[in-house]
């Protein structure tokens, strides 16, 4: 296994120069990431940084205004979402989005609509989530949030994807449930599945991912294996404040406040003012002061 995705010659999933607009608002600016086969990558970033937009664009729900998405070398930028599932990309959407009037089993069967073959039969999914087999006749709307999340993962697995996209698995779930859901990821990774997950809970993401990408206002501000990143770096990339010198390596764990005097805090230099739409330029910077807190 390679330690960093960037060193791999042929990534399974490759996003190059991706820009996405929601109406007049640009959600992603020239985003490039590469995920080698069999690795777990995590996207982190604040609310509205563009993480979900990135996953949804990879899944085909948004059409990019520039850039490309490639799967195993094949350009899939123009494919519809359902064709991408057939090509091997499955997304577990934010908020789970099960079919509420269908039973658990029917949800899984719909997930297998693309008829891709692989090890994830309905039975295999029942083996992964032990409780599910007994309750397969139950309507999805009657499940708890954590159970729904498991079914949503199962539904995506039923498509036997080569790349699994997971959007905010922890959203709205109790920590103990989140831990249980995340405990299944190593099993998936061990089966050779490539995973790109979006997570607001940075420590959770760092724990499971071999590689982390941080998004800030639609741009990648940091990328690398968790071990090589300092807390200050991550914090700077996450919040849009930069430490006086990148990679000073003070070794503070993620989540601790940056040991920064007034001089070390500056507006994110990675946001060139010229690329901000002219009509809203001055207002935008004034609206969003650099000092953000969770």
């Amino acid at each position: 296994m390679t330690t960093a995705g960037t060193t791999d010659a042929s990534p399974l999933l490759e996003v190059a120069g991706l820009s996405v607009h929601h109406g007049q608002l640009q959600a992603l600016h020239d985003v490039s990431i590469a995920v080698p086969a069999g690795q777990v990558h995590a996207m982190i970033g604040a609310n509205g940084a563009g993480k979900s937009t990135l996953l949804r664009t990879i899944a085909g729900l948004h059409a990019p205004t520039a850039g490309s998405v490639r799967l195993d070398g094949r350009d899939i930028t123009g494919l519809r979402p359902e064709r991408r599932v057939a090509a091997g990309i499955a997304l577990v959407p934010e908020g789970r989005r099960l079919f509420p009037s269908l039973s658990v089993e029917e949800n899984l069967l719909v997930g297998a609509s693309s008829r891709r073959t692989g090890e994830w039969s309905i039975d295999a999914i029942y083996d992964l989530f032990g409780w599910m087999r007994d309750r397969r006749r139950q309507r999805a709307a009657q499940l708890s949030g954590g159970e729904q999340q498991a079914v949503a993962i199962g539904r995506a697995l039923a498509a036997n994807p080569s790349v699994l996209l997971l959007d905010e698995l922890s959203l709205g779930l109790a920590p103990v449930v989140v831990r249980r859901i995340y405990a299944t990821l190593p099993q998936l990774a061990a089966s050779g599945m490539t995973i790109l997950l979006v997570e607001q809970d940075v420590s959770q993401a760092l724990a499971v991912a071999s590689h982390v990408h941080c998004l800030l206002e639609g741009r990648v501000t940091l990328a690398g294996p968790p071990a090589g990143l300092t807390g200050a770096q991550i914090e700077a990339a996450y919040f849009g404040v930069s430490a006086a010198s990148n990679g000073n390596g003070d070794g503070s764990p993620p989540g601790t406040p940056a040991s920064a005097g007034p001089a070390s805090v500056a507006p994110a230099g990675s946001v060139p003012a010229s690329s901000v739409p002219a009509s809203s330029g001055p207002a935008r910077q004034a609206d969003q002061p650099p000092g953000v807190h969770i």
Binding site: P81, E82, A90, L91, R97, L98, S101, L102, S114
Partner: protein, 290 residues
């Protein structure tokens, strides 16, 4: 006894209305759009049957063998082209396009087939009947239409709950985007749902043509509103509600007609408005109105 008879005749008529309503209900359930050309399409089916009978001399009763598949195919093609193009623009556009379609169909029928009243001639079957006691007479045709309606609803129910296509239709109706993410081409599923709806519309049009006289305006002046009223009275998302709605509408009309011949249609519409005020989600469904 005449009132009992009115109720029984109303139940029979309700089968016909349920047949009209289930296609409208299915399309609304899956695509969230009301097809305002629904009634006119039923009339097109009746006119096609008229043509089939004239050319092939098969009994009108058997014309469905040709007309229903033709209509299902027409439904699929129309959905994948015109209706999908309007859906891409939004719900309002789709309403306007189906309304335009309704006007075009009605006037085209009038232009090419004249405004004269027609009927599908089924010989003596239209008047054959049996009696229960001295007051109640049941026409075989009316009973047959009710049986067909129940059979169609049963078949549709079974198809939706048990087949792979039915499951995909329900999934798309629940959440179109999530269905796409599961590898379903929702446009194709829309096409299938519309094909089924058109098949039932064709059946309903044929039944109506055998039941009574029709002309190019029947689709808008009567059938569309009856179908819609049956759907609302019965409640959305329930095929059995649709049957119940159709039957309630039929009974209201027949009982109204007992009171005064001119009150037949008005009685049904007042029942619709009362249900709308008291129980807008219909009598069987707990779902919210779209």
């Amino acid at each position: 006894m005449t009132w009992v008879n009115a109720v029984i005749q109303g139940v029979m008529l309700g089968g016909l209305y349920a047949l009209f309503a289930c296609g409208l209900s299915l399309m609304f359930g899956v695509m969230k759009v009301i097809n305002l050309a629904h009634g006119d399409l039923a009339m097109v089916a009746a006119y096609i049957a008229l043509g089939v009978v004239t050319i092939t001399h098969v009994p009108a009763v058997w014309s469905f063998v040709l007309v229903v598949p033709i209509f299902a195919a027409l439904g699929y093609v129309l959905q994948r082209t015109l209706l999908q193009a309007s859906l891409n623009r939004g719900v309002i556009t789709t309403l306007l396009v189906t309304f335009g379609l309704s006007v075009v169909i009605e006037n085209a029928l009038q232009q090419f087939l004249s405004a004269n009243s027609r009927e599908l001639n089924i010989g003596s079957l239209v008047s054959d009947s049996f009696s229960i006691g001295s007051q109640i007479t049941i026409a075989y045709l009316d009973l047959a239409i009710l049986v067909v309606a129940v059979a169609v609803l049963l078949g549709l129910q079974y198809f939706l709950s048990s087949s792979r296509s039915g499951r995909m239709i329900r999934a798309v109706a629940d959440d179109r985007e999530a269905a796409q993410l599961s590898g379903i081409n929702y446009r194709h599923v829309f096409g299938i749902a519309t094909a089924i709806a058109f098949g039932t519309v064709a059946l309903a049009g044929l039944a109506y043509g055998m039941y009574t006289q029709f002309d190019p305006t029947t689709g808008t002046t009567a059938l569309l509103l009856y179908a819609f009223e049956a759907v609302v009275i019965g409640g959305l998302g329930s095929l059995w509600g649709t049957l119940a709605g159709g039957i309630l509408l039929g009974v209201a009309q027949q009982v109204g007609a007992q009171y005064h011949a001119a009150d037949q249609v008005l009685a049904g519409q007042l029942l619709f408005l009362i249900i709308l005020v008291l129980r807008p989600q219909g009598i069987t469904s707990r779902r919210e109105l779209a």
